[in-house]
Amino acid sequence: MSAIDAPNPYQAQSRSSAVEAAATFPNYLNATGGWKSWLFTGDHKRIAILYIITTTIAFLFGGLAAALVRLELLTPQGDLMSGDGYNKAFSAHGIIMVFMFLVPVVPAVLGNFLVPLMIGAKDLAFPKINLMSWYLYMIGTFFGLYAIIAGGVDTGWTFYTPFSTTTNTNVISAAVGVFIIGFSSIFTGFNFIVTVHKMRAPGLTWFRLPLFIWSMYATSLIMILGTPVIGITVLMVAVERLLHLGVFDPAFGGDPLLFQHLFWFYSHPAVYIMILPGFGIISEVIPAFARRNIFGYSFIAMSSLAIAMVGFFVWGHHLFVSGQSAYAGMVFSALSFVIGVPTAIKVFNWTATLYKGSISFETPMLFALFFIGLFLIGGLTGLFLAAMGLDIHLHDTYFVVAHFHYVMVGGMMLAYLAGIHYWWPKISGRMYPEFLGKLSALIVFVGFHITFFPQFVMGYMGMPRQYHEYVAEFQVYHVLSTAGASVLGVGFLMPVVYLTYSWFYGPRVNSNPFKATGLEWQTSSPPPTTNFVEIPVVTVGPYEYADFEENELVHAR
């Protein structure tokens, strides 16, 4: 499958005429009107917009809870909230951020929008199921938020038994929420898998797929194979609470560790649901702004699959001190280390893609580079935790909290911001304000380090997580962290504000403002409802920038 095919005159001609034609077509935003045309839409792009709105709201709620948590931790005493109040705050934060925000956000927003566009299809294979999955998300979120608002949940996002089966908070409705959101995620993944297998444009062979598609595919595998397990697990917790049958209750021989196995069998792969799509975004953004073919295409593609596969067999690294057998621990530890290798491959390839590039630093690129810097630290500290001897000391301390914020916020959140800026012109047909974009990237980067770096230190010093009050000697770090969080909050709120502004008032853009190669850029911005006026025929690999520029005609207006 040689990547370069000689450009033929027909190709160029047809491409530009297609773009012209698309521009005069009604686009997906104005094709039909009225709220019904949105709430009953089958159009993957409109569903993506629905998801942008709802996940952003979820993020703001989760952020609000984070703000409460950080404020409370400013002083060693519990002066802002009661113990229960604090527990409910961080549980709300974790549950909202994980289940309602970070797991769905990239697949449901960017994935929904881009998968059909990138593979030259008119829609996902099952548009109605796609819409249904948004409704499931909404219903599940409703249950979750109901649980959180009407009295709260105090189990943390991990729902460990027997605490979760005996506490007297709204665990059942939170569990039902998680169960339903899980199905939303299953349906998204299942739609993507079928679409990628069955609906690729002519000529779009597997190794010509954009890396974003590879990573969405890998993510979808995790979604369909892992999510059912969390479904049945939270169901068992709910049943146990309702009927007190003793499934996880040691009084009847129930094994709390079984719960942990079941939970992490999903939730560790789920952390890769929370990062693989980000990897995909970075693999698109870096070549576009370095104007280079990506280094090691097939290695990056395969490493996504490898991460998805191996990611299923490392769950026991969350159980090193829980009473799991040492032998099992050894196996899980070794595999956890192994999974660092495919991730390392990606990082090295992204870096090498900059080599001999022609690099510019628009907002998406800045976010992408900051992503590497932050994810690197997050990933490397994951290796600390994967070492059994060290995890004994670090487990459930702030070191873990710092680790996962570095990968989830520093990693996926930044990748999402890179992606949303990069495809914003395509989604909205308008440009975001460049200066504000760069500024927010910088603020986020700085604020992030101030917030979470001190947590590594205090974690090693022994500060346990989920602590409402703490011993005074940790205060210095907590004050730093809270200060950083306020900076970080500003950094995150900025894009919410200026992107909303840009949606209505931003300057209009042509179909390909960043002069990128993907199929999604070969149609107008915003795209027409059926995505392409003519179905594209693909003849080369995805990142042939050199080829693309030689061809003068590609610069769409």
Binding site: N8, S14, M199, V229, I232, L262, T530, E534, P542
Partner: protein, 250 residues
């Protein structure tokens, strides 16, 4: 990176009423549907998988309790239900076949038999569950599992006294752990039962659609998909049956 196919590729021959707008042709659509269903079935496997895992772990932890508790289930009902479900699978397969060859009458007949079998399965499950209720084997406050119960099958054994001692040494809390078996039993058969009910709903829907003459040799995907789902329900029972009824019969 790409070119565009000439326009006529898109506006192709006539319009197939069974073809959704976003698919290119029937082959693509059918394959997408069947792949979709299979992917869905694999999530079902993982869904049940969680429960099977719980069952296995507790079986490993409490072999004696599971053996004893299992031997209080009625093998004959289990066998009958297995046969009923296998037959229903067969009639379902025949139903799909009838749809493929375009015989509406046979299709309706086979679907109806399938539905009947499914109903029978649920009725028998109902009988079994009621039996459990009368024997105080429903987990919860009223649960009562007694090694000295003279009506229980194991207490009829010749060397029961000896065995009983051995069991109690191996697992002093065997009576308490027996409850775990029933918890798993009700979870597994309950979840399976829910799937049977969903299947019955689907089959009924298919019968109604077949009555409306919606299917023909060119269009029978819904029947096929319902069939696949139904067979999966059967496959799960094929595993459930030996696991819960037969683990300790020797």
């Amino acid at each position: 990176m790409s070119t565009h196919a000439s326009a006529d590729v898109h506006h192709h021959e006539g319009h197939d009423p069974y073809l959704a707008h976003h698919f290119e042709d029937r082959a693509q659509q059918d394959e997408a549907h069947s792949l979709g269903l299979w992917v869905f079935l694999s999530t079902e496997i993982m869904f049940f998988g969680g429960l099977f895992l719980a069952f296995t772990v507790y079986h490993v932890l409490f072999p004696e309790a599971f053996g004893l508790a299992s031997s209080r289930l009625s093998v004959s009902w289990g066998v009958i239900n297995t046969i009923v479900l296998l037959v229903s699978s067969f009639t379902m397969a025949m139903g799909v076949h009838s749809a493929q060859v375009g015989s509406r009458k046979l299709l309706l007949t086979f679907l109806s038999i399938t539905l009947l079998c499914a109903g029978a399965f649920m009725v028998i499950k109902g009988i079994e569950w009621t039996e459990k209720y009368h024997h105080h084997l429903i987990p919860g406050a009223s649960f009562h599992f007694d090694l000295n119960d003279p009506t229980a099958p194991e207490t009829q054994l010749a060397n029961w006294g000896e065995r009983r001692e051995a069991i109690l040494i191996a697992d002093p809390h065997v009576e308490r752990h027996a409850q775990m078996f029933y918890v798993m039993y009700f979870c597994l058969t309950g979840l399976h039962g829910i799937h049977v009910l969903i299947g019955m709903g689907l089959i009924t829907w298919m019968i109604l659609r077949a009555k409306r003459n919606e299917f023909n040799t060119r269009w029978n995907t819904p029947i096929e998909l319902t069939g696949l789902y139904w067979h999966l329900v059967d496959v799960i029972w094929i595993y459930l049956f030996p696991l819960i009824y037969l683990i300790h019969r020797h």
